[in-house]
Amino acid sequence: MADDSRRDEPEVTERGVSRVHEDPSAPVADAFAEVAEEQLEAPGLEPEQEILTLNMGPHHPATHGVLRLVVTLQGERVIDLKPIVGYVHTGIEKSCEDKSYWKVIPFVERMDYLAYFFNIEAFCGCVERLLELEIPPRAQYLRVIHMELNRIHSHLVGLGTTALDLGAISMFWYCFRERDQILDMFEMSGGQRMHTRYFQVGGVFEDIPVGFEQKLRQFCAVMPSRLDQYEALLDRNEIFLRRTKDVGVVSRERLLELGVTGPLLRAAGEPWDLRKSPGYLSYGDFDFKIPVGTVGDGYDRYRVRIAEMRESVRIIQQAIDGLPEGPWIADDRKYVLPPRDELSTSMEALIHHFKLVTEGFRVPPGELYYSVEGPRGELGCFVLADGSSKPARVHFRDAAFVNLQAFRDMCVGGLIADLIQNLGMLDPNLGGIDR
């Protein structure tokens, strides 16, 4: 089901431990380690006396949000780590239970605020399956285009901020330059730059406007060369290589045990991508590959994300070339708002409009878990419908929330500087983790 050609057996190194001695960028750490070892051997000193427990965050620029890490250090070496989350918990899942289905969409968008189209797709897809509502092919293609743009956008932010943490500030500006173009396109189609509420139950809110296609093609033509530029900046950058190579390696089996999905798992050599699973939007129509890494270190994670952006550009190009004509939203008046022009002529349309806007549509009792491949991995949504116009339970399985469990395995035994790199390559989004 996937591209196996690049897949080698991953070499699992001792989580950066052996690396330190050959790394000239960490002489201080070596000195500390030696001192620590000497002191440990000295009589009358307990090992606990060398251990320092440090609180990183919640307000720390390198934690990409409000993540608190309780780190236990011996010298500069991390010997234990506990992530503590919940600082931006806003009870979105609870709030959703008090909103009719179409009003839930703006809430769930704001969970993982870098992957908003994926959040809506998970929710809308779930409700559509509960309603057994078919969405037209044009809507599927438009969803694919927006989700892939969103994936590029999310990877760009992740890459830019990670590179910033590693000392490459220019990457940040370049990444945000391309991100801005994507946001411009979202503004054209949905009216807002972020949290556009563009996807609806049944399709998309509106057809893409005039000029969108041209701008999209322009972007697709430029983006690969921009990616070349990023690679020219980072691929053989000595600082970047030393900070990322062989750091934070976790074996593929352990990642699978911990439920890690997305680029982290693919970097470890596992070609697992839900986009290749059958019947998920119209991804079957497109020719794309699943990039995988070999070692699973920070460098592979970076390479996988860059390669994914290239594949996303290819998907967008194919989708815009093959964009089918036709309606962009399902024609079921029980669930979908009638066209605006019908309201002044058709009594029935007016009634439907009134019912949909005031009460919202009702979903027959049932429950379903539906998942999409988000930029951070499997983004799942569970909706429990009790027959009313409000969901009885909305649960999001956020990929970053589950992936964060692997963070301890990545960091223990490494240096505290590697912790920053690992966190950047983990690419968590605290809005999604805390919901």
Partner: protein, 200 residues
């Protein structure tokens, strides 16, 4: 998902190992569901994970839900995935609410209401409980903590069962259906005098 006969075979296989584990099977909206006895959850999950030809080795999601006013009230959902065949199976363990009848559990308490300490008593008496599956699927650790945090479902044998998203000293189980929305007094400077014992 496995088709309907396949699902029956799975149910039969699980039930052979421990009679009475499977309560019901259903196929709805393209998802196969096994409703199981909560006491047999580890048996069912282990069977699905380790049996030759099944291979549901990936737990993609674990979440809880509150079905008030139905009984049994709670359910823990396990979304298992076989990555080789890209097949999902949904396992649902229904849990009775031991505190049914003497309702005060889970209702929002204003901070400092007398008696709130008694309900937050250690030992989690009066809470529904189920075996933790962390030993089978280490990925469940955070998700079981989340279910405990929001619904007060105790996972027996969990290595570190604490609240994860809500504050540690929080009282009540916020995602239960009888927990009111807006029940949390928000502290501002203009109401800090009226909000009783806000400083505790």
């Amino acid at each position: 998902m496995p088709d309907a006969p396949g699902l029956e075979l799975i149910a039969q296989g699980i039930d052979d190992g421990r009679t009475g584990t499977i309560i019901e099977t259903s196929v709805e909206h393209g998802a196969a569901t096994l409703i199981i006895d909560p006491e047999g959850v580890l048996h069912a999950l282990r069977w699905l994970r380790d049996t030759e030809g099944q291979g549901y080795r990936f737990l993609s999601s674990l979440h809880a839900a509150d079905y008030l006013p139905h009984t049994p009230r709670f359910a823990v959902h396990y979304e298992l995935l076989c990555r080789e065949r890209v097949e999902r199976i949904h396992v649902k363990a229904l849990l009775e609410d031991p505190a049914a009848g003497n309702r005060s559990n889970g209702v929002a308490q204003t901070p400092g209401t007398p008696g709130s300490e008694a309900e937050d008593a250690p030992g989690d008496a009066g809470l529904p409980s189920i075996d933790s599956c962390v030993s089978l699927f280490p990925t469940a650790e955070f998700q079981e903590r989340e279910a405990y945090d929001f619904f007060g479902i105790v996972f027996r044998g969990h290595p570190d069962l604490r609240r994860i998203l809500m504050p540690e000293d929080y009282v009540g189980w916020p995602l239960r259906r009888d927990f009111p929305i807006g029940g949390e007094p928000v502290l501002f400077t203009h109401n800090e005098i009226e909000t009783p014992r806000w400083f505790e």
